[in-house]
Symmetry: C2
Subunit: 324 residues, 2 copies
């Protein structure tokens, strides 16, 4: 790693289900960052010209040219093969990104090296290298976004696995064998039961939906349910019990799987951390089998930049393909 590279900026593209976050990062500092709507249901390819234009805008704002950049990092909410630079599988969003030649696009659009990674893995790297969890070497992360992303760090190494799937499927551990069909093809996955995207479907199947404050909301997510529960709405209170059960069991499953010191939480849900965190921590501490002590909880301070920071780290360091 030459000194020249360290002084160059990394271009980081975080393709989320709802928004595309674009950042310029140098040595762990976000120089500038912007946001585009994802329209991910319509695919990724139609969005790439706008992404390219947004990057060039950011560079111009910072007085930088592509020659001042070290590479482009791409984060995606699916199964990513960082070795062959491709997306292996994804649910419902960015369907055209599976098998798309990201390397060729980056070469053509920017003429720079590329790295790719699952977004939750990048976020875990971002938080442990540059963020709130700096210095931790045994950690799991759960991001409550549109879906529920996870990742694991063991003895300082990001867990990737034989087919690059390890650590990132915590949202698809089964937490209710009698639960709902998941978009992944499974049944009763944590995501199918307690994610932002599955919440509206769950609520509509409950008795008392018609009489709930939530029946008049057009777009129900975590925020609306938390607000209605604070107002004493019966259905929302019952939904919170359902969510706490699944979220805490999902975290316990990660703790039991990867044996971390610390659980890092991120994503939109953490805007309500003052409300949800105490109950979540209480339940996890009650249920996790950890005779050595209690896992600590860390909430990401800047959830909007953790993926970007992790991608910039991968550009600087290179992905270590010798997987665990």
């Amino acid at each position: 790693m030459s000194e020249i590279n360290l002084n160059k900026a990394a271009i980081a593209l975080d393709f989320g289900g709802t928004n595309i976050k674009i950042g310029l990062i140098r040595q762990g500092k976000v120089l500038n960052q912007t946001l585009l709507p994802a329209h991910s249901g319509a695919g990724i390819i139609p969005r790439l010209p706008d992404v390219q234009a947004a990057v060039m805008d950011l560079l111009e704002q910072e007085g930088l040219a592509l020659g001042n950049c070290s590479g482009v990092g791409i984060g995606l909410p699916g199964l990513v093969d960082p070795q062959h630079l491709s997306l292996l599988s994804i649910n419902e969003k960015y369907a055209d990104a599976v098998g798309f030649a990201f390397g060729a696009w980056v070469e053509e659009a920017f003429g720079l090296p590329i790295v790719m990674e699952n977004d939750a893995r990048a976020a875990l790297l971002g938080e442990t290298v540059y963020g709130t969890a700096h210095g931790e070497s045994n950690a799991v992360l759960m991001i409550f976004g549109t879906g529920i992303g996870t990742a694991a760090l063991m003895n300082g190494k990001i867990i990737r696995g034989r087919h690059f799937q390890a650590g990132i499927l915590g949202g698809h551990f089964v937490t209710d064998v009698n639960g709902s069909r998941c978009s992944c093809g499974g049944v009763g996955c944590l995501e199918a039961e307690a994610s932002h995207w599955s919440l509206q479907g769950w609520l509509k199947n409950q008795q008392g939906y018609a009489n709930s404050l939530l029946a008049i909301e057009s777009n129900i997510g975590y925020r609306q349910v938390i607000d209605a529960s604070q107002s004493g709405d019966m259905l929302a209170l019952s939904a919170m019990q359902h969510l706490y059960k699944h979220w805490s069991s999902g975290i316990v499953n990660l703790v039991h799987a990867y044996d971390p010191d610390v659980v890092i939480l991120s994503g939109g849900l953490m805007k309500a951390k003052d409300i949800v965190l105490p109950e979540l921590v209480r339940r996890v501490h009650e249920q996790a089998w950890t005779p050595w002590g209690k896992v600590r909880f860390i909430v990401a301070e800047n959830p909007d930049s953790s993926v970007l920071l992790g991608l910039s780290h991968l550009i600087e360091e290179g992905i270590d393909i010798d997987y665990v």
Copy 2:
């Protein structure tokens, strides 16, 4: 590793919930092996004189002395610290083994080096080094014994984790957030729902128990339920659906957690593999999110010796404490 050590025999002690298996192993071959009832509810310390005597008997039968042995390996169905040679935590059986000075006992009884490991981890090593799964380097194992033990091998390394808990708690991943209280303190763990020990309690809580063939059995386990289901008993058929759901979800959770090529199954349940395996494989293949292909299944051919073989390997190679 000197040639002398390779020619020596390893003494392996597998403290199961129901039986204590004792073996003499040399270079992956079981020279001789015997079995004692565990009486594990009464603790481990009262059993140690009998274990010592049984080892000396085996040695005599083989014409060997302690001087012909390389060490003693101890496998236990709990959280084991192989570095400090102690049992950290265990549920309901061998309660007095937590904190017991196994090193001092082995020194006094045999004057030999000691290794210790969780029994499922030892079984996974035994199967991948010497057994049916020889040569696999990305594998998970599930043993259906009294409880449900698990272990994981990633990129050729046994996963141990920061507090030696990683890989072995697959029986305590939550598969039903609305399920039964588990002996570990959790709720709805796979073990609490679908293990040999939890089966009788589950059955007694079902409607139709009084009219079932199973109501007249005094000691109900997997075998009795499988037999009754083959006879068309309605409760037993419903129990099999319950078990298949949890077992397959438990395996899917391991696949999603550790990203293996192969799932190794062992334990008493596998005596009925002709009946249960096809349905189990079908469900796992249907539910697991593995775009790379399908996990293979391997059934341990000699489940009674896999822990013993793994312990002998640890004596020969030494436990690699540089954990992942």
